[in-house]
């Protein structure tokens, strides 16, 4: 079957997406859960162990506290309470921590540090999987049983809770957390209920979730003065609740408990999601009159896990500990109780943990925690027997404290081994995914010579009968492996859980790919004999630029194996793009000065050796070929170009370098240098609103000037109005200002303005599509097609302008500027071939991904882009908008590539070459990366560094697939024309 190389590449990328999906499903572990679900109903609590003697304690212990108030402050970092900020802004809390009846801890949150998984961890004690990040935006109802049963719970705060626990609250008022610019109203909505509720006594648990602090962090970072105000506000809320609880205490027999905690911290840039110390450490303060404290008793906050809260609260309320909880009881809470009760609580907790261990680990008996648990249970039984025989003695106390220590050690070990259990990989699914992806990559690599041939077509032996025997054999072997793996099932495996039809389909796909590879390989080997006689060896046409492209790609792929290079991937791309510019400048100099004897400019030529690392004079034959190559390349540009244009050609690589340097200082990203001051922070601080407004206006103007030249007059007008609308939208939400209305107080969500812009975006895209369709009908109209493609490009630019934060608008302007410069002065005069141009577009696209302020860290995804012009959270548009906003750089460069190659008439197959190259250059890193990640799966940084990057790579491949489909569609219209 003959396929165009573009179509072939698109199919390959589509199959690769499937492979990656299977791999991701296997890589990200299913959370540890107990299989004993609802069917058992309320399981009777474990009775107290007693050696021989019969204990009278078989039911659950009674609650320790009558009312519990949980004040959860989003993004409360530990030093906001325990550090200097706490002393300054939270005097009451500091007093309670230092002198009051309280226990304070530093609770460590597990990454991903985003709100939804953290709430789950706090309330159910289970460790949510990494996949929950994706669901953070739209949280489904939580099935896990939490301690919220049987009690009357009132909740005010983040709506996520209501979605997580839809039936648990007797009364609630949810606030949306996505309008990040609002940080007063969200909290007032919570506090306004407080007086009324505290007066009433008809509840057992009150949960308050304050979002304001997190919003301030997102807007202006942890050092903003707004943080202080917010902390003082929180302090007064805490004081109000505490005094009210204390006054109530006289009426009830049991004391009350007040819990202050944060769900995650805040990094130095004000965001969260990753695993730096600032993001992971949150304060946890338990306040109750039950915690007696002698004067002078200084308690330093101990480090505990966030999952411990759920177990502690369950004990405190006299509820069964949630079955999926991996946390251990915070022992200081029960320290004041009699010894027998303390042991009872610890026993309940260890029994629950060991049950969870038994269900999740096949060889649980060998686990040290389990052994410790068995031993302490025995000791505990002995102690109970002694206790029932004689009441008070020194021996009893000593033995009791020994049992206690044993239990605490067992708890610690059990909790640890359960937490590591989360990092179990589903190797079978990962292998299946890897095999599919690697097969596709091999196929792509093998078909490079054929696909980049002038005809841009290749023979895909889909139905070669000679290999049918092999095909059936491979299927047979694969299904045998499948049956063996799935029946031996040591651990749960996603791929085995699939239906037979789906699994069989994947196996047929894998074996068909294998057969195709084998047949292509034989073709290449047989055909290689004939082509070797061909005198033109392909490598003889390589220039320094090609060498740089190859080495750069290889170097980047290899660098993905080191965690620091993944964290600082932007540096790799900036370095490569800079070197590319220098190589281009060297090429321009060679073309313009070696042909004719004009006076060279001074000073700038020295760097020519810097990149063209391997001078061709080492190889005589290569050198000759290059000379010939240059011979037929160079005369044309020097004839075409006149004086000033020649200077522009010489200067343009330097202009581009300067642009890149400016953009680089706009958003400081990565990890090591992320704390450095950058222009973006300077611009977004509230003092520099005027500068930001001027910059945004200038950038929008530049965007207009650069985009309008290729558009038809209708879309020109639409573009102008749209860009005006973008500015109005930013003014409406308060990030920029109009000169005539310097301090606008009324901040809205800007719904109308944003929708106004959307209309123009859709209008321009529609005009573009209409032009494309028309050009297809009127076959000869080539110009119309170019205009149509440019209109689609400009529609995307307008959408990006709407979604980008105002300080990022220069990125858009510079990207258009660089595209214009490259097109006019480099690609056209130097006549690079389609493959080189594609790779350059890809590199610039990657660099712009990071210029936007992205990084390989979940925290830098700008989710506010998904809420532009939307009243409430609507899943599909929000996800699409966020994805486009994040990948705007690569997408805009890809759409420019399509436009540029279609507007150049020199080669009919350029577009399909480009599509093939684009698919290849995107799939090389992702395929290598999944192999690297599989081999590094026990690396220390696998969850904090490598797996977010894996998510990014998967998403990037999806975007690439979409781009390739667009390419192929354009290519198809070309084919039907000719």
């Amino acid at each position: 079957m003959r396929l165009g190389s573009g179509t072939f590449a698109t199919c390959c990328v589509a199959i690769e997406v499937l492979g990656i999906a299977v791999f991701l499903r296997g890589f990200f572990p299913a959370p540890v859960r107990s299989s004993a679900r609802a069917e058992h109903g309320a399981e009777p609590p474990a009775p107290e162990p007693s050696a021989g003697a019969s204990s009278n304690w078989t039911t659950l212990p009674s609650p320790l506290f009558s009312k519990v108030v949980i004040v959860l402050i989003d993004a409360l970092r530990d030093d906001f309470v325990f550090g200097s900020k706490g002393v300054k802004f939270m005097p009451y809390t500091t007093y309670l921590v230092e002198k009051g009846a309280s226990h304070s801890f530093v609770a460590e949150a597990k990454p991903p540090t985003v709100t939804m998984p953290r709430i789950k961890a706090l309330m159910t004690g289970s460790l949510p999987g990494f996949v929950d990040v994706v669901r953070n935006l739209n949280s489904p109802a939580l099935l896990e049983d939490s301690q919220n049963s049987w009690k009357r719970i009132i909740f005010y705060g983040d709506e996520t809770w209501v979605k997580l626990f839809p039936k648990h609250f007797a009364e609630y008022d949810g606030t949306t957390s996505f309008f990040v610019s609002d940080y007063t109203e969200v909290d007032n909505n919570v506090t306004r209920h407080l007086d009324k509720v505290l007066k009433r006594g008809d509840w057992d648990m009150l949960i308050l979730h304050y979002l304001g602090l997190d919003h301030i962090g997102h807007i202006s970072g942890p050092n903003s003065p707004l943080i202080g105000h917010k902390l003082s506000e929180m302090d007064s809320v805490l004081m109000k609740i505490h005094t009210s609880l204390q006054s109530k205490e006289r009426e009830t027999p049991l004391p009350n408990l007040l819990v202050l905690c944060g769900d995650h911290g805040m990094s130095e840039t004000g965001s969260h999601g990753a695993s730096s110390m600032e993001e992971v450490n949150t304060p946890l303060i338990l306040i109750s009159s039950a915690f007696e404290r002698k004067p002078g008793d200084i308690r330093h906050p101990k480090h505990v896990q966030q999952t411990d809260v759920a177990a502690t609260l369950a004990i405190a309320l006299g509820l069964p500990i949630p079955k999926d909880s991996v946390g251990s009881l915070l022992f200081p809470v029960v320290e004041g109780r009699p010894m027998r009760e303390q042991l009872r609580f610890l026993h309940l907790n260890t029994v629950q943990l060991s049950k969870l261990l038994q269900e999740n680990v096949p060889s649980y008996e060998k686990d040290p925690g389990f052994e410790q648990f068995k031993m302490s249970e025995r000791l505990h039984g002995n102690w109970i027997r002694l206790y029932l025989e004689e009441k008070h003695s020194e021996v009893l106390f000593n033995l009791g404290s020994k049992v206690l220590r044993q239990y605490l050690a067992a708890l610690k070990t059990l909790s640890l081994s359960l937490s590591t259990q989360v990092a179990q990989y589903d190797m079978y699914s990962m292998m299946v995914g890897t095999v599919v992806v690697l097969e596709v990559l091999t196929l792509l690599l093998l078909s490079v010579p054929q696909a980049l041939h002038r005809k841009a077509e290749l023979e895909v032996p889909l139905s070669s009968p000679g290999f049918s025997l092999l095909f059936y054999l491979v299927i047979l072997v694969l299904s045998a492996v499948h049956v063996i793996v799935c029946t031996s099932a040591e651990s749960s495996c996603y791929f085995c859980g699939l239906s037979w039809l789906a699994a069989g389909g994947v196996m047929v796909l894998a074996s068909a790919l294998l057969c195709v590879i084998v047949s292509v390989l034989t073709n290449v080997l047989v055909g290689g004999n004939t082509s070797r006689k061909n005198p033109v060896h392909p490598s003889s046409r390589w220039s320094e630029l090609d060498l740089l492209i190859l080495l750069g790609t290889a170097g980047h792929v290899l660098s993905l194996g080191a965690s620091s290079f993944v964290e600082e991937e932007h540096q790799t791309w900036y370095f490569l793009v800079n070197t590319l510019c220098l190589a281009l400048s060297q090429e321009t100099y060679r073309n313009y000065f070696l042909g004719d004897d004009s006076e060279p400019p001074c000073g700038l030529h020295v760097e020519q050796g810097l990149d063209g690392a391997t001078p061709a004079w080492q190889d005589g034959s290569a050198c000759d070929a290059l000379e010939r190559d240059k011979g037929h390349r160079s005369p044309s540009p020097s004839q075409v170009l006149r004086g000033h244009e020649k200077w522009m050609v010489l200067a343009s690589p330097w202009l581009i370098l300067a642009c890149c340097r400016l953009l680089r200082s706009l958003n400081q990203t990565g990890v090591q240098w992320a704390h450095r001051p950058d222009l973006g922070h300077w611009l977004t601080s509230s003092d520099h609103k005027a500068e930001l407004s001027v910059l945004a206006a200038i950038s929008l103007l530049v965007v207009f000037v650069l985009v309008q030249r290729g558009c038809s007059s209708v879309s020109k007008a639409a573009l102008a109005l749209g860009l005006l609308g973008v500015y109005c939208y930013r003014a409406a939400i308060g990030s920029v200002q109009f000169p005539w209305r310097p301090a606008s107080q009324d901040i809205s969500k800007g719904i109308i303005e944003a929708r106004f812009v959307y209309i123009f975006v859709l209008g321009i895209l529609f005009t573009g599509t209409k032009d494309l369709l028309k050009s297809q009908v009127i076959a000869a109209d080539f110009k119309l097609k170019t205009v149509g493609l440019w209109e689609i490009h400009s529609g995307l630019v307008l959408l990006a302008a709407l979604l980008f934060r105002p300080h990022n608008l220069p990125v858009l302007a510079f990207s258009l500027l660089i595209q214009t410069l490259m097109t006019k002065f480099i690609w056209k005069p130097l006549r690079h071939d389609a493959a080189e141009i594609t790779v350059m577009h890809y590199w610039f696209g990657q660099a712009f991904f990071y210029f936007q302020g992205n990084s390989n860290n979940i925290a830098t995804v700008d989710i506010s882009a998904g809420f532009v012009g939307l009243d409430t959270y609507v899943e599909i548009p929000a996800v699409l908008l966020t994805a486009f906003g994040t990948y705007a750089g690569p997408v805009l460069w890809a759409s420019h590539l399509v436009y540029f190659l279609s507007s150049e008439t020199r080669s009919s197959s350029a577009l399909s070459h480009a599509c093939f190259c684009y698919a290849l250059i995107c799939s090389i890193p992702v395929s290598t990366y999944i192999v690297l990640v599989t081999s590094l799966r026990y690396h220390l940084f696998i969850w904090s560094v490598f797996s977010p990057k894996l998510l990014y790579e998967g998403m990037h491949l999806l975007i690439t697939a979409a781009v390739c489909v667009f390419f192929t569609a354009m290519d198809q219209t070309r084919l039907t024309q000719s």
């Binding site: 370095f575 800079n578 000073g603 030529h605 050198c623």
Partner: protein
């Protein structure tokens, strides 16, 4: 081309390498607490001075280019001044390139500039010594098939290897090993130095190896 030429080339290169080694050891006799990493800037100055001096001495002693036909004093002085200007300009343009590559603009400016100086020492100074302040000759040497003698051939190799060394030296900067040599610009200067030394060692050997194939227009 004769073997004696290659031998002379080898000896001059060995002298250059020796000067670099001296720049590491001699200062520690006179200065307290001298080490390459801790007092890096001092070492940069000393190394640059040594290499320049050796290059000048070799230029005066060996005179590989016997092209200077007439030499009036004023001609010599203008030539020398021109050389100095060229050297300074190459320093500044290297500095600009480093900043474009991402070196901090204001802080560490002295370090960046000294890196530019040492890279110029390894690349521009030999060019100036050998070819003089003659940009056309430079362009000829650094284009394909432009070399006319083994001296120019080795000049090309050492220059390119210094550049490549400096380029490769930037690679370990983002790694989180927290070694003292990862600080800007130490890894790059060390990379450039190693590249230069490697070029000095390799080029005579390579020329010796390929002496049969190499033919120069003028020889």
């Amino acid at each position: 081309m004769k073997d004696t030429d290659i031998k002379r080339l080898l000896y001059t290169h060995l002298l250059c390498i020796f000067s670099i080694i001296l720049s590491v050891f001699i200062p520690s006799l006179f200065l307290e607490n001298f080490s390459i990493l801790e007092t890096h800037l001092t070492w940069l100055c000393i190394c640059s001075g040594f290499v320049t001096a050796v290059n000048l001495v070799l230029y005066l002693a060996v005179k590989p280019n016997t092209s200077s036909k007439r030499s009036s004093l004023s001609h010599k002085v203008t030539r020398f001044l021109k050389c100095c200007i060229y050297f300074l300009m190459s320093c500044f343009s290297f500095h600009v390139i480093f900043v474009l590559y991402g070196a901090p603009l204001i802080e560490l400016a002295l370090e960046t500039f000294l890196f530019a100086v040492i890279l110029s020492t390894f690349t521009t100074v030999p060019c100036l010594c050998l070819l003089g302040p003659n940009l056309k000759a430079w362009l000829r040497v650094f284009s394909r098939n432009g070399v006319t003698s083994i001296w120019e051939n080795s000049l090309q190799m050492t220059t390119i290897s210094s550049f490549v060394g400096a380029w490769l030296g930037a690679l370990p900067i983002p790694l989180d090993w927290e070694r003292p040599w990862q600080v800007w610009p130490i890894s790059c200067t060390l990379g450039a130095t190693f590249g230069y030394v490697a070029g000095l060692v390799v080029s005579p050997l390579w020329i010796y190896w390929n002496r049969k194939q190499l033919t120069y227009k003028n020889n």
